[in-house]
């Protein structure tokens, strides 16, 4: 029994007692179940396991603190009605917003933040980390940290462009199909069925094998693959709106299709569409990262997270975590966007699950 172990259990038990005393039931349940799990972990894994638990708990607490502070910050700078909405955001959602914010900063200011250029060879291959290179060098002697920062610009940028393109195509087709109906609706619906009946990764691989891995090809192919999903959702949302009386009234006034879409339907369907945009971005981002990982996405020497994982993958068999860092960057962004979307869906549906 070292001092660390005694302190560890004492802290946990004190925390659970305090939580129980002040009637924080959820906190109590969490802390106390952690205590019980720690008994088992301590017996199996010994002190190192407990130390890992402490580190993990510390990081969680840090993340929670950052999210809490960031939410307060957003509430302070937002307009009153937006601030009211933000107050209802759970910590996971504000953590998501914080991460998205950080990535945006990294992507926009990449040339100023990164110490070296993205394709700049500065040292020998796989050089270990030192004071100038935070994360060491990759297989050609380029700085991994700089490439990571530039990757935020390249990978996320391309995914964003593809998502916006998919969204414009899908949403426009969906709105038109809902307003016009008839054969246009039918044809677009069947077309979407066909595209969606091919697995997305397979379809992308097929098209890239034919057209070659160029950036504009990737953007267009990915946009075409995901537009049908947007189409379906927009069609469903708009379909519920076009049967409303105020649409009928607008039609009787003699308004055209374009007016109906812009002034009547869109304002009433923004909430689900924004949430869908977030989800769609995650799918697109994961698909593009997967393609890059397979060597068929963004081509070197452009820094890109998917291909960085692939290029440094051999390091993993020596127990080095360098290839995991860009993969973790991908996962962190998708998780964060999902957290924000989760909150928005919950809010827009207005349904509080009982």
């Amino acid at each position: 029994m070292s001092v660390f172990v005694i302190g560890y259990y004492a802290a946990l038990i004190c925390a659970s007692c305090l939580a129980a005393y002040f009637n924080y039931r959820k906190v109590f349940m969490m802390v106390f179940s952690l205590t019980l799990i720690s008994f088992v972990l301590g017996i199996i894994g010994g002190v190192p396991a407990l130390r890992n638990v402490t580190i993990a708990a510390g990081m969680l607490a840090l993340a929670a603190g950052v999210s809490y502070a960031f939410r307060e910050f957003l509430i302070q700078i937002a307009k009153p009605d937006l601030a009211k909405e933000l107050r209802t955001a759970p910590l996971t959602a504000s953590f998501g917003m914080f991460v998205v914010f950080t990535y945006a900063i990294a992507g926009i200011f990449a040339p100023w933040i990164a110490p070296y250029g993205e394709a700049e060879v500065i040292t020998s291959a796989f050089a270990p980390a030192d004071r100038d290179m935070l994360l060491g060098a990759d297989q050609l002697g380029r700085d991994v940290f700089s490439r990571l920062i530039y990757g935020a610009r390249n990978t996320v940028g391309i995914a964003l462009v593809a998502t916006i393109l998919a969204f414009i195509m899908g949403a426009l087709a969906g709105l038109l199909a809902a307003v016009k109906g008839g054969w246009f609706d039918q044809v677009m619906g069947r077309f979407a069925d066909v595209i969606m009946s091919i697995p997305s990764l397979i379809f992308a691989l097929l098209m890239l094998s034919i057209l070659g891995p160029k950036i504009w090809v990737i953007v267009i192919v990915v946009a075409i693959i995901y537009a049908p999903r947007v189409f379906r959702l927009t069609r469903a949302v708009a379909g519920n709106i076009v049967v409303m009386d105020y649409i009928e009234a607008a039609k009787l006034r003699g308004e055209g299709d374009w007016y109906l879409i812009r002034r009547e339907i869109l304002p009433n369907s923004t909430a689900p569409l924004i949430a869908e945009f977030g989800l769609e971005f995650c799918f697109v981002f994961l698909l593009i990262a997967g393609l890059s990982f397979l060597g068929l996405g963004i081509q070197p020497p452009t820094a890109d997270w998917g291909s960085m994982v692939r290029e440094n993958a051999t390091l993993i068999s020596f127990g080095d975590i360098t290839p995991l860092i860009p993969a973790a960057a991908i996962a962190l962004l998708t998780v964060s966007v999902n957290f924000v979307v989760d909150w928005m869906l919950f809010r827009s549906s207005g349904l509080k699950e009982q």
Binding site: S197, L201, G306, A327, N338
Partner: protein, 318 residues
């Protein structure tokens, strides 16, 4: 019963039609290539004679429609033509690999399906407690991570650090089942993690939607014990969404398998597809795409038919 049969047959016919359209898309996508396929494959240094020979070999001198019908006719009988790079029949290249992929997917499914459904039901019953919140965050994380991230984490911890399982799934003929299961454990586990998370979330949503319906509340109000509410009242209606969830996730497994096979160098059809794409070996790409798409459509079909069979309401569309 005649009604039911007609409905299922109609759905099957629709599935076949979709498959036909998809096969047309896959075949004619290659036709979109600017210039000549044979020249594209051989590159710029090719002599006219070799180009002519390859054109002959690929049957490029016939019109596209004839070639499509021949290709489709062969594909139905398991003959996908000849690989453009190696010269072997495509079926020799991908035949055993397809079996390997099916094995891996089945291995993952056998573990994931029961675990996910049981956990999903538990989480639905404990909804809005702290366990539900933690499970929500964990499953969301697992879904959002790219498959290769999960795969490399498992390699790092279970293969490199703990040295419990092999990091690379190289199979050889003559391995017994235990050895096979041991060697393919990590790729299967990666798939299990992703698919379980998906399935859990969908099961949870389905069960919660069910439990909030009025007839369940009625059963509760008249004093039926909780386990009986679940087993007698909720479960019969829950089968339809659960079957749907399982089939949809098996379809998802089909695409997830490509990335996982590459991470673990598993000799499956996904790896073959990726290799063929980088070598621009179109007959193999087309064959793999068709096989993947057919499996995907088949599983979606199974989801719909399962829903029709277990949910009488779908038999009488309004």
């Amino acid at each position: 019963m005649g009604d039911l049969l007609r409905l299922v047959l109609k759905r099957l016919g629709y599935g076949l039609l979709t498959l036909l359209v998809v096969s047309i898309l896959i075949f004619f996508a290659v036709e979109m290539l600017p210039g000549d396929v044979a020249e594209q494959i051989l590159g710029q240094g090719a002599t006219p004679e070799t180009v002519a020979r390859l054109r002959e070999q690929l049957g490029l001198n016939q019109p596209a429609v004839v070639r499509y019908l021949q290709w489709l006719g062969g594909a139905v009988q398991g003959d996908f033509g000849i690989s453009a790079t190696s010269g072997d029949p495509v079926m020799d290249v991908i035949g055993t690999r397809f079996v390997n992929t099916l094995f891996l997917a089945a291995y993952a499914a056998v573990i994931a399906v029961p675990v996910a459904i049981i956990l999903g039901i538990i989480v639905a019953l404990l909804r809005n407690t702290i366990f539900d919140r933690v499970a929500n965050v964990l499953t969301l994380t697992s879904i959002s991570s790219p498959e290769f991230f999960l795969g490399y984490i498992l390699i790092l911890f279970l293969a490199v650090k703990a040295n419990m399982f092999p990091a690379i799934a190289n199979l050889s003929s003559g391995m017994d089942l235990g050895e096979l299961l041991y060697r393919t454990f990590l790729p299967a586990l990666t798939l299990v993690l992703v698919v379980t998370a998906h399935m859990m979330r969908m099961t949870r949503a389905a069960i919660i939607a069910l439990l909030s319906s009025p007839y369940i509340e009625m059963a509760r109000l008249k004093g039926v014990p909780p386990w009986k509410v679940i087993v007698r009242h909720a479960l019969p209606n829950a089968w339809a969404p659960i079957i749907n969830v399982v089939a949809l996730n098996l379809a998802y497994l089909i695409t997830g398998v490509v990335l996982v096979e590459v991470v673990f160098v598993y000799p499956g059809i996904g790896q073959a597809l990726v290799d063929a794409v980088s070598k621009r070996d179109f007959p193999v790409v087309q064959a793999c795409s068709l096989i993947f798409a057919a499996t995907f459509i088949l599983l979606n079909l199974a989801a719909d038919v399962g829903a029709i069979l277990t949910n009488p309401r779908l038999r009488h569309p309004k």
